[in-house]
Symmetry: D3
Subunit: 73 residues, 6 copies
């Protein structure tokens, strides 16, 4: 009965249909291999969240990337 919820950035970075298929397959196989869970009852749910809605280190991802790209003087 496992439930796997994968949250990733959406928009321009959203996974393609083929990538979603691979994520679902891979997560299901992981649970089968490690915990012997039956694939038939493993549910995977992928959610796409806009990049500016993610934060780490107190900053949104776009701000972090902008700073990483710009060398400090």
């Amino acid at each position: 009965m496992p439930y796997v919820n994968i949250k990733v950035t959406g928009g321009a970075e959203a996974p393609t249909t083929a990538q979603k298929e691979e994520l679902i397959k891979g997560a299901t196989e992981l649970l089968a291999r490690v915990l012997n869970k039956k694939p038939a009852t493993t549910v995977v749910l992928i959610e796409e969240v806009p990049m500016e809605n993610w934060g780490v280190g107190g900053e949104s991802v776009p701000v972090r990337r902008m700073k990483a790209a710009k060398p400090s003087p």
Copy 2:
């Protein structure tokens, strides 16, 4: 203080406004009936997830449906 999160397929299969109203009402009544929870503090949150983002049995829902519809030779 219960919190009920209902995730369903969105897009063409998304619930209508009237159906969302029924889900909210029904979930709140369920918590009141079974656990005697006050409706005033029961929060219900419906989230719509694209069909291709759901997987079970290691396959996305669209792939499963396609296979179910097509008889094997």
Copy 3:
């Protein structure tokens, strides 16, 4: 493929095994009745959270209840 996550207070207020069974049955029937979802693929997950871990109005539930029980002078 719906997924219903019900979070309720645990500990002394935790639902009994019979009540959990009723919540699972009721949530599954709700999705079948309102959205015509197949019970076979409706997953319900009940999570119990200690009362002091819930807050509303900027206060934890135990503090709110204590204040509600104590008449102001």
Copy 4:
């Protein structure tokens, strides 16, 4: 390693980019101040949910607001 998930109404009420930045900063500072958690590993995730998908008291938010705005006879 804290993880903070903030769900708010989206659409016309969605937070602006600047407000999201403030939410991420504020939640990260809260965890640092109260629990001494390192900002570098605090993840914040903001999710926007349409107003009609939220319910409380057995009614969706739009229905509640409509009733609150309309005086009863």
Copy 5:
């Protein structure tokens, strides 16, 4: 920035420490392989939920297993 939340049955069926390590490693590698996500910012969170708190097909998992084990007359 991906976030992977894995919910599995706990109690007698809870994953061991070594199995949790494998789930964390496997989920992080999956996101790196399929979406080229940096392991350094991939967060995995495993939550253990008592078996009687899971339901599918309108029944809790223990009831389903009991029925599956008992042949009908």
Copy 6:
């Protein structure tokens, strides 16, 4: 109607009752200050997850801390 879910390490690192009260107050004030949300309908939910159930960089938190504490030869 905001909903804030804070997941932190539990066990020996679990927040005290007073710290939980501060998290609830702080998160509610944050939503009021940034988005003008009414405290009366802001729900905060703190969940405690065992340290070995968290992973980042493909390793569980205890393994990461052990490595960080041990200087490489």
